[in-house]
C-alpha cells in the first residue's frame, strides 16, 4: 500500500484555477463515489481550502491509481484548463505525502504563515470523508496523527502565536498593558469600519463597557446598539476619557483632536491610571507627542503594521522549529507503517498451520478407522494445539518492539523460514 497526495495550491496555481477545482468540495459525495469506483484506490480523502485542493489516497498500485486520480482532477475544467491544471499539479508519495499533509495542517504551507483555520478545514473534510466511508485504517491513523502533530507544533513553537492582523495586534497590546480586559472600558472615537473591527475584537476579549463618541450621534447610537455600548457626542470627549482605558480613534477630522496638554490634564484627573490609545485615522487624530506622557501608550496604524511585520518574521523563524518536529513525526509515522507488516505475517503463519492440521487430520483420521465424535474431536484438538503451541513463541518474538530495521529483517526471515510467499498448495506436500 502506497500513500499518494495529488493537488495544487496557491504556489502552483492562480486563484481562477483553484476556484474551478474547489467546486469539487461542495459535492464530495460525487467525488468519493468516483474515487471508490477506482479499483486501485483503497482509501481516499479530499480536502479543499481557500488556497489548495488536494486528494490523499492509499493505493496498492500507485502506477495505475495516480493517472486515474489526476484524470479526475483534470476533468474539472475545459481543454485549456486541463493543460494549466496538469502543470500546476504536484504528486507526493509516502514520506513526502505525509510530511506535506503535516505542513498543511500546521499552517506552514499557508499564505499567512501559521494560520489556524486550515486545520479546522482539514478536520471538517476528514469528518466528511469518514461519513462517506472513504477512509480506512491507514488514513484514519494518518489523520489522527496529523491532528496531534498540529497540536504539538502549536504548543511547542510560536508559529501560531503573536497577532498578524491590525485589530488583533491591538488587543494583544492591550493585554500586555492591562492584563485582563474584563474590567476595562473601551472608547471609540468616530465610527469607521476599521474601528468596528477592533471593537469586535475587544468585545470578544471581554471588555466590560463600550462608549462610542461620534460627530453624528445617530451613527454612534447605531454602532453602540450593535455592541451593547452607550453613545455620546464628541463634545463630551474629555469627560469620557476619564472613564476609558482603551481608546480607538478613527475620525475623518483633518486635524488633531487631542493634544498632549489636554491629555496631561486628563491623566492627572485619572490619577495616572494607564491609558492605551490607538490612532487608526489618516490623517492622525491624536498628537504623536502624547506617547511621551507617563502611563500613556499611543499606537498609530503604522506602529501596528510594524508589530504585525515583526510577528510575521517571528513566525518564519518558528517555522524552522515546526519543520523539525514534522520531520521527526513523519519518520515516526513511517515506522508505524512498517509494524503493520507484522500482522499479515502472523495471520499467514496461522493460516498455514491451520491448513497443515486440516491436511494431516484428513490423512490420519482415514487411517484410524471409525472413531466416536468425542475421540475425533480430541484428535483434532491435539493437532491444533501442537501447531499453535509451536508457533506461540515466534508470534511473541515478532510482536516484540524491535528496532524498525531489525523488524523488517525479522519479518523477511520468518517469511522465508516458513515459506509464506510461495504458492502454498505446492509447498504443503
Amino acid at each position: 500500500m502506497t500513500l499518494v497526495l495529488i493537488g495544487l495550491n496557491h504556489k502552483t496555481a492562480p486563484v481562477a484555477l483553484r476556484e474551478k477545482l474547489a467546486t469539487l468540495a461542495p459535492e464530495p459525495a460525487a467525488v468519493y463515489q468516483h474515487l471508490r469506483a477506482l479499483k486501485a484506490v483503497r482509501e481516499a480523502l479530499l480536502y479543499a481550502t481557500c488556497n489548495r485542493v488536494e486528494i490523499l489516497f492509499a493505493s496498492p498500485d500507485p502506477e495505475t491509481a495516480i493517472p486515474q486520480v489526476r484524470q479526475l482532477l483534470l476533468a474539472q475544467g475545459d481543454e485549456e484548463d486541463a493543460q494549466a491544471i496538469q502543470q500546476a499539479l504536484y504528486v507526493y508519495q509516502e514520506g513526502e505525502a505525509v510530511s506535506h499533509l503535516f505542513q498543511v495542517a500546521c499552517g506552514l504551507d499557508s499564505m499567512v504563515m501559521g494560520e489556524p483555520q486550515v486545520l479546522g478545514q482539514i478536520k471538517a473534510a476528514y469528518r466528511q470523508g469518514t461519513e462517506q466511508q472513504a477512509t480506512g485504517p491507514l488514513l484514519n491513523r494518518l489523520l489522527h496523527k496529523t491532528f496531534s502533530v498540529a497540536k504539538k507544533v502549536r504548543s511547542e513553537t510560536g508559529i501560531g502565536g503573536l497577532a498578524v492582523s491590525v485589530s488583533y495586534a491591538a488587543v494583544e497590546l492591550a493585554r500586555k498593558i492591562f492584563g485582563s480586559l474584563t474590567d476595562k472600558t473601551g472608547l471609540l472615537i468616530g465610527a469607521g469600519e476599521m474601528a468596528e473591527l477592533a471593537v469586535e475584537h475587544l468585545k470578544r476579549h471581554g471588555v466590560a463597557r463600550l462608549i462610542v463618541a461620534n460627530r453624528t450621534v445617530a451613527r454612534g447610537l447605531e454602532l453602540a446598539g450593535r455592541f451593547g455600548g452607550e453613545a455620546v457626542s464628541l463634545a463630551e470627549l474629555p469627560e469620557q476619557l476619564l472613564r476609558a482605558d482603551i481608546v480607538i480613534s478613527s475620525t475623518g477630522a483633518p486635524e488633531i483632536i487631542l493634544t498632549k496638554d489636554q491629555l496631561k490634564g486628563v491623566m492627572r484627573r485619572r490619577k495616572q491610571r494607564p491609558l492605551f490609545l490607538i490612532d487608526i485615522a489618516v490623517p492622525r487624530d491624536l498628537d504623536p507627542a502624547i506617547n511621551d506622557l507617563d502611563n500613556v501608550y499611543l499606537y498609530n496604524i503604522d506602529d501596528l503594521q510594524g508589530v504585525i511585520q515583526a510577528n510575521l518574521n517571528h513566525r518564519q523563524e518558528e517555522a524552522v522549529k515546526a519543520r523539525r518536529i514534522i520531520d521527526v513525526e513523519t519518520q515516526k509515522f513511517l515506522q508505524w507503517r512498517e509494524t503493520l507488516a507484522v500482522t499479515p505475517t502472523i495471520i499467514a503463519l496461522r493460516e498455514k498451520a491451520a491448513q497443515i492440521c486440516q491436511t494431516e487430520l484428513k490423512k490420519t483420521l482415514a487411517q484410524l478407522g471409525p472413531l466416536s465424535p468425542e475421540q475425533q474431536k480430541s484428535v483434532e484438538v491435539l493437532a491444533e494445539s501442537i501447531a499453535l503451541k509451536l508457533l506461540h513463541d515466534p508470534f511473541l518474538y515478532l510482536k516484540r518492539n524491535h528496532h524498525p530495521k531489525r523488524r523488517s529483517q525479522d519479518i523477511d526471515l520468518t517469511r522465508r523460514l516458513f515459506n509464506l510467499d510461495q504458492d502454498r498448495n505446492e509447498e504443503l506436500h
Partner: protein, 277 residues
C-alpha cells in the same frame, strides 16, 4: 554539622531552581515553573530546618553575625517569594529571586562565624527586630525585581520595539500591582523592625534613637517608601515612577544592610555589637 549540610542542600536547591526557571523563561512551559516551585520549596524546608537546628543548638536565634544575617536574609527572601508566588504568580520572578537568595546564602557559608556571640544579641526582642527588618528587606527586594521587570516591559511597549522579553514578561498592570502589594507589606514589616529595634535600644542602651549610620539610612529608605505610598494614593504615582522609587528605595536599604557593617562608627556592626556603650 548537620545544619551546615542542610544549608548546602538549600543552596543547591536554590541553584537548581534558578536553572529550571531560566529554562521556563526560555521555553515557556508550565512544567518548568512547577519543577522550579518544588525545588525552591524543598530548599526552603532545608533552610528552615537548618535555622531551627542552629537555634536549638545555640539556645538563641542565629542572628549574631553578618554571615548569619545573610543566611537569614536569604531565607526571608525565599519565604516572601513563596508567599508571593502563591498570591501573585509572576512566574519570571522565579528566575530572579532564587539566584539572589543563593548568592546571599553562599556569602553566608563563606563568611566565618564568630565563636562567641555577645549576650546582648541573644534576646528574643533583638531577633524579632532583625527578622522583621529582614523580611521587610526581602519584600522590598521583590518590589525591586518587579520594578526592573516593569521598566524593561514598559520600555518595549513605549518604544514599540519588542524583544525577547516582551512575550515572556507579564502585563504592566500585573507588575504594577506587584509593586504596590510588596511595598505595602514591606513598609509594615520595616516599620515593625524599626519600632522593635528602637524599643530594644531603649531597654538595653537607654536611648530610642542615636542617629547611627544604619538608623539614619534606614530612615531615609522608610521616608522614601512612605512618600511613594502616600503619593500613590493621593496623586496616583504608579507605573514607571513607582518602579523607579522601588529600585531607589532598595538601593538605599542595601547600602544600609551591607555598608553599615563596614562603617566604623556604627554600633550596628555585627562583629562589634556586644562591645558598645
Amino acid at each position: 554539622m548537620v545544619d551546615f549540610w542542610l544549608l548546602l542542600l538549600a543552596l543547591a536547591s536554590y541553584g537548581a531552581a534558578t536553572l529550571v526557571w531560566l529554562g521556563y523563561v526560555w521555553r515557556q512551559q508550565d512544567a518548568w515553573h512547577r519543577a522550579g516551585s518544588w525545588a525552591v520549596t524543598f530548599g526552603w524546608l532545608c533552610h528552615t530546618l537548618a535555622l531551627l537546628l542552629e537555634t536549638v543548638a545555640q539556645g538563641f536565634f542565629p542572628v549574631g553575625s553578618f554571615g548569619a544575617a545573610l543566611s537569614l536574609f536569604s531565607w526571608a527572601l525565599i519565604t516572601t517569594f513563596l508567599i508571593l508566588t502563591w498570591r501573585y504568580p509572576v512566574k519570571v520572578l522565579g528566575a530572579m529571586a532564587p539566584p539572589l537568595a543563593a548568592l546571599l546564602l553562599s556569602g553566608s557559608l563563606i563568611l566565618p562565624r564568630p565563636p562567641e556571640i555577645a549576650p546582648i544579641l541573644q534576646s528574643f526582642w533583638l531577633s524579632f527586630h532583625i527578622v522583621a527588618a529582614l523580611l521587610g528587606n526581602a519584600t522590598f527586594a521583590l518590589a525591586f525585581l518587579g520594578g526592573i521587570l516593569y521598566l524593561v516591559q514598559e520600555r518595549q511597549i513605549k518604544n514599540k520595539k519588542f524583544g525577547f522579553f516582551y512575550k515572556r514578561l507579564p502585563s504592566l498592570e500585573t507588575l504594577d500591582a506587584l509593586n504596590y502589594y510588596c511595598i505595602n507589606i514591606g513598609f509594615v514589616l520595616l516599620t515593625l523592625g524599626i519600632i522593635s529595634g528602637s524599643l530594644y535600644a531603649q531597654y538595653t542602651l537607654g536611648t530610642f534613637w542615636q542617629w547611627d549610620p544604619k538608623e539614619t539610612m534606614t530612615l531615609v529608605a522608610w521616608l522614601l517608601y512612605a512618600g511613594l505610598l502616600h503619593e500613590r494614593l493621593a496623586k496616583g504615582w504608579r507605573g514607571r515612577r513607582a518602579a523607579l522609587l522601588a529600585i531607589a528605595g532598595f538601593a538605599v536599604l542595601m547600602v544600609t544592610f551591607v555598608g553599615a557593617d563596614f562603617w566604623h562608627r556604627s554600633y550596628h556592626r555585627f562583629d562589634t555589637f556586644g562591645r558598645l556603650p
